[in-house]
Symmetry: D2
Subunit: 262 residues, 4 copies
């Protein structure tokens, strides 16, 4: 994580004064063509993070390592990604960190998978399910590009058939009808394990809540997060004119042990 110089194979972010960003992997001999001129990768390799580089016509770009936030927003995708604000909250609420084993479905473009793979580290593991081969292939490429595929097992499988793992610490569902998979989720989680789901509509939240009431999950919470950006101008501080008004509702629960009647 912490080398001071950009090296071949690193993912780099070039940020222009015009706010345009380019994110790519450094490759000897390759070139980046921008509408403001060309930068050869060989001219990037060996430079320090935080330096300003220029195109062949002199336009300046800032050289940065992308943050997790930027990596996720910058992946190739053909699905709606989970937003960084929700990812951060999922991490804290579902106790994700080094050493954790988490199951995720569906994989989608792999945005959340990247974050989870990064957080659980080499001592943890992510098991991710996806039924569409093309989607899985895309996610796998996104993970490989960041060198995170070693922390991830990719299942090409409909979760209606259940999960292969047991005693997982956490399980997150980003699927249309999560209420169909609560039995399977309970079977895959260790007791006390963390369940989470992200849902765009209130009708889905109601359906999931109704199913959770019939399930062996408890301690149910529903929350949403709103992120508001400000124009960073010291003498005229004010929120941006527009914002994302909705990404989804987060539902969290804990896996419980059914009481044996006495």
């Amino acid at each position: 994580m912490t080398t001071s110089f950009a090296q071949e194979g690193d993912i780099v972010l070039l940020l222009g004064k015009d706010k345009r960003e380019f994110m790519f992997r450094l490759q000897a001999g390759a070139e980046l063509h921008t509408h403001r001129g060309i930068i050869r990768h060989d001219e990037v390799i060996g430079h320090r993070w935080g330096e300003t580089l220029t195109t062949h016509i002199g336009y300046p770009y800032l050289l940065l390592q992308p943050s997790l936030d930027q990596l996720i927003r910058g992946i190739r995708r053909n699905t709606q990604i989970v937003y960084p604000k929700e990812i951060g909250y999922i991490i804290v609420k579902m106790n994700i960190g080094p050493g954790v084993r988490i199951i995720e479905a569906g994989t989608g473009s792999g945005g959340l998978t990247i974050a989870l793979a990064r957080m659980v580290g080499a001592t943890g593991h992510v098991y991710t399910y996806e039924a569409r081969p093309a989607m899985q292939a895309l996610a796998r490429r996104n993970l490989e590009r960041l060198g995170l595929e070693g922390n991830v097992t990719f299942h090409l499988r409909d979760i209606a058939e259940g999960f292969e793992e047991q005693e997982a610490d956490a399980l997150f569902l980003d699927v249309r009808e999560p209420w169909l998979y609560l039995e399977a989720a309970h079977a895959a989680l260790r007791s006390g394990g963390f369940f989470g789901a992200l849902l765009p509509t209130t009708n889905q939240v109601s359906a999931l809540l109704a199913a959770l009431e019939e399930s062996r999950f408890g301690f149910v919470e529903v929350e949403e997060l709103l992120l508001r950006a400000y124009k960073p101008v010291p003498q005229r501080l004010r929120p941006e004119d527009r914002m994302v008004a909705h990404t989804g509702y987060l539902v969290f629960a804990r896996s419980l042990i059914a009481q044996t009647p006495t």
Copy 2:
């Protein structure tokens, strides 16, 4: 993280039907006295997470491992803590994860320190600064209680004297006047490193933005997060009546390299 049974030394959370929570470390021979009766720790040890235990007068409590969110909200404190919603977002925006070296000031009660120590894992490290001895002692006890003190160096020192570390990946300031320490922060960060601050008032945000404009930091962002909880009732889904309206404004920036004039 992942044993199925509560063991001596574990931090446990007991959650009553009345929504009252008790968080404590299991200790053979000890007792928890609630207003609904007594539970002996020895009766908790060996039980599975997710089970329901009862007091000597039969009141049921759910046995859970606390999430990071619950740990932070449950620590002993005499300062305002950083809220879990901000902690999660800081993690994602500042690229915190296994292996990262991050500097933090002030330590306060140690809520954010706990989250950072958990996330960077054994391969990373947290360097935390605090000028008040009693506060540091409290934070240290909170970290020790969770077995996370090995990932943390506690400095008892006013950051006006600068930071001892160099080439840190990230640096977070939760202090009243962060604009006073931008030089020192830049000296402690590796180039391209992540800077963050949390500030309660708009006047402080303006002051920090003005100082950042004069500094060798760039890519400045100001954001705030609003968290809205819903009553988890499937047939009557609606937001809770009241919510926290403000915790603070987050300011993020990246450490740049000053251009040498040509």
Copy 3:
């Protein structure tokens, strides 16, 4: 509205330094007993709005005419009132103003009725329905206290029996199951008239939207308003710590004319 001096019969607001408010009607010979001393009404009568008066032990109170906002929040009530933020928006969205004829159900404690009666003025009229005699009596007293009862017709009647009026400009439902009354609402409104409803849960909004799709209403909108107050301190400007997170969802629609098939 605009006499400069408080007169017998006026509704006055006394506001203490301790933020406690007293709202009452001035009556010669009466006394206000506060925990900070006594103020005789006769000592208030004849004073100018905006003056500071003192109790017999010298505690200062500011003498103000209540705003519509304060009047509504200060009425005697035993139901949830419609909040001023929603009332203002209802006025603008449903075209309420001098000369308008609007139907309202249920009357409840009369908070919205007060605002509507004030806005439509002597040239308009409010027709309000309530099935519970005690509730209607309370609302009537609240309106009479403000001298607004002349603009209002009080119906003691279940709206399942329909509305007595026709060709109304607007109709607002603050009832549990507004979808049951869409036929009756359409019959009472002039074509093109404004329909509005306030609902606390998402399930109710879905039910009303489904019924509206089957009805002769169109141009349907669902909106919610969040009000955030700031601490008015120039050097430490920041939002208040807590806020009301939810009052209700507003649903608006327009009465259309069914097309005759050709």
Copy 4:
């Protein structure tokens, strides 16, 4: 307000299935040219509000009277208008209604002037100040188009010279530096009168609050309103993807009487 049929001179709103809206004044002999065909005004005159009319090529448009909300959003303008959500709240907080005398500066495009003129009715009055002749002319045309100019006095004048009126019930400033005019505002208001201002930045709010502390105004409040629209789909109820994040901060205060020292 309440004729059932569209008549010459009425402002009408035609709303297409494609969500495009046309707002104009009916004029015998005129034509509306849309990208979906032509509608002759003579074919609109005499039709009932809420009817569906068709262009010469058969595209349907719904015939509605615009609400105040729609009128304001539909005016010709070359300034930022005050949004309907703020207008409604200003009305309720500043006690605007039939019979009220209110001063406003600057006039701008006249959006707020329209709302105020509508609300105070024939028994009240709006005094509006604007220093730019072209802007005043635009606002005057917008008011005349709606037949509301009779309730309004237009002053072409810089308010640095003070206000001509006295004993006004309310005064609203939508200007860049409202703190410069607090003396003049106090002189124009009756004691106890309502002061309001709308400001886009936090720095302006701080400056106004500081000036209010030195002034003879009290009972100061700072508030902001967020409006969130939902997709009106019963089976998939959810907020719209994006929303307006910021229009401005509202500051309210009351005119007080300075205490004579004894």
